[in-house]
């Protein structure tokens, strides 16, 4: 079975349009590349009950859950509280994280900084050696910060944990109208019902107007479907073009 994932972006600043979320697009690309099927992305406010409800639902629905944001020391950082509530656990100060914070802040450490060492009971630390602050995981939930540079660094340290059989992708670019090829696509799906087939119109590209994507975890399946697609398109006098 293909591993699935859900991504929960936590932050009022995204919902109010002050900050554009880059993290979910990054994680979606990385996870796809690893062979993981991302099934849902949710952007929700810094609200303990909403975080808890979403984490609980996602945790039950997908193989992996990734959260981003809400892990700092201020009043609006509620992700750890929300994840704890999702699993009916308490927050507990984690000794190893506390040590890491003491080393990082040294004499500048103030009590609120230590909030970042408060994690749900039974949380695992992943990424281990050489990371000053490891990734905190609870059950199948992996908790990441909202700052994109830090999220990327942390994810790169643990990404191989999630590797699964790869998706095989073929792309076909056409100069045509989607309506013109709709029936061809229906016939392809009739022959290859498990094919992941996407059709995307482009309105401003000089070299093509449709991008078709064919995907499967089975390389032969996607190749056979690709062959049939080219045959069917040629019957309409449509030849794939090279994207500019």
């Amino acid at each position: 079975m293909t591993k699935t994932a859900g991504i929960i972006v936590i932050g009022n600043e995204i919902l109010s349009g002050k900050t554009a979320d880059e993290n979910s697009a990054f994680l979606a690309r990385e996870l796809r590349d690893l062979g993981v099927d991302v099934r849902k992305i949710a952007v929700i406010p810094d609200d303990l009950q909403l975080i808890a409800a979403e984490v609980r639902l996602f945790s039950q629905s997908y193989s992996y859950v990734f959260t981003t944001g809400g892990v700092g020391p201020t009043h609006d950082d509620l992700t750890m509280d929300g994840v704890a509530a999702a699993f009916g656990r308490k927050l507990r100060r984690h000794e190893q994280l506390e040590d890491a914070l003491h080393r990082y802040y040294a004499q500048h450490l103030v009590e609120p900084n230590l909030r970042m060492a408060d994690v749900p009971e039974g949380a695992r630390l992943i990424g281990g050696q050489g990371m000053w602050f490891p990734v905190v995981a609870v059950e199948n939930v992996y908790i990441f910060p909202g700052v994109p540079e830090i999220l990327r660094k942390k994810f790169s340290r643990i990404r191989e944990t999630f590797r699964d059989a790869p998706f095989h992708l073929r792309e076909v670019y056409l100069r045509a109208d989607e309506g013109q090829i709709a029936s061809v696509l229906h016939r392809i799906l009739a022959s290859f019902p498990n094919l992941l087939l996407g059709s995307y119109p482009y309105f401003d590209n000089p070299s093509f107007s449709i991008k078709l994507t064919l995907e499967s975890k089975d390389a032969a399946y996607v190749n056979d479907a690709h062959g049939l697609l080219l045959t069917e398109l040629s019957k309409l006098d449509l030849e794939p073009v090279r994207p500019a």
Copy 2:
């Protein structure tokens, strides 16, 4: 009561990381500017049952729901079907939309193009005169295409429909560590419990390391909170800086 909104982005291409969603960030900014409080963004696959379930839930939860994507003529365009299913309605070919498609495609029209005229029974057309293809709305759900340029044009035609009392925003930039100011922020919220107060760390900006945002629909309230914040910060010898 402040109007609320939810945004549903429909498209496998976003979840598989092939395309980065620009539409939800655009809508979030526009709606905030109009005084509308966006409460949730969901990105979901091109799957009829999932679309129907999400639309139904969002429609019950928020004043307005905006969908993007899934409105073309091919097999993976299931938004109209999903919205219809959400409200237990059937799809019906809409005469005015059918006419618009005939005018647009003229002799190049093929039957699948007309799928774009199939909308849930009782759907309203908004944006009216001068738009070749108006926005389709069903109850409180506004259906937009996924192509960003077209979404923007269409939204601009109907944006005033959603205008509400504005949010008043003050921003304060600091050179400090979030832990250092956490207790100040707690005191501000104790005095101004209805203030929307955000604290965001920046790690790579040369002129500041924290951005604070203070917001309310009540201008006097946000001004008073801002005054108290400056007083409290000065007690810590912290002066706001100007962002570069």
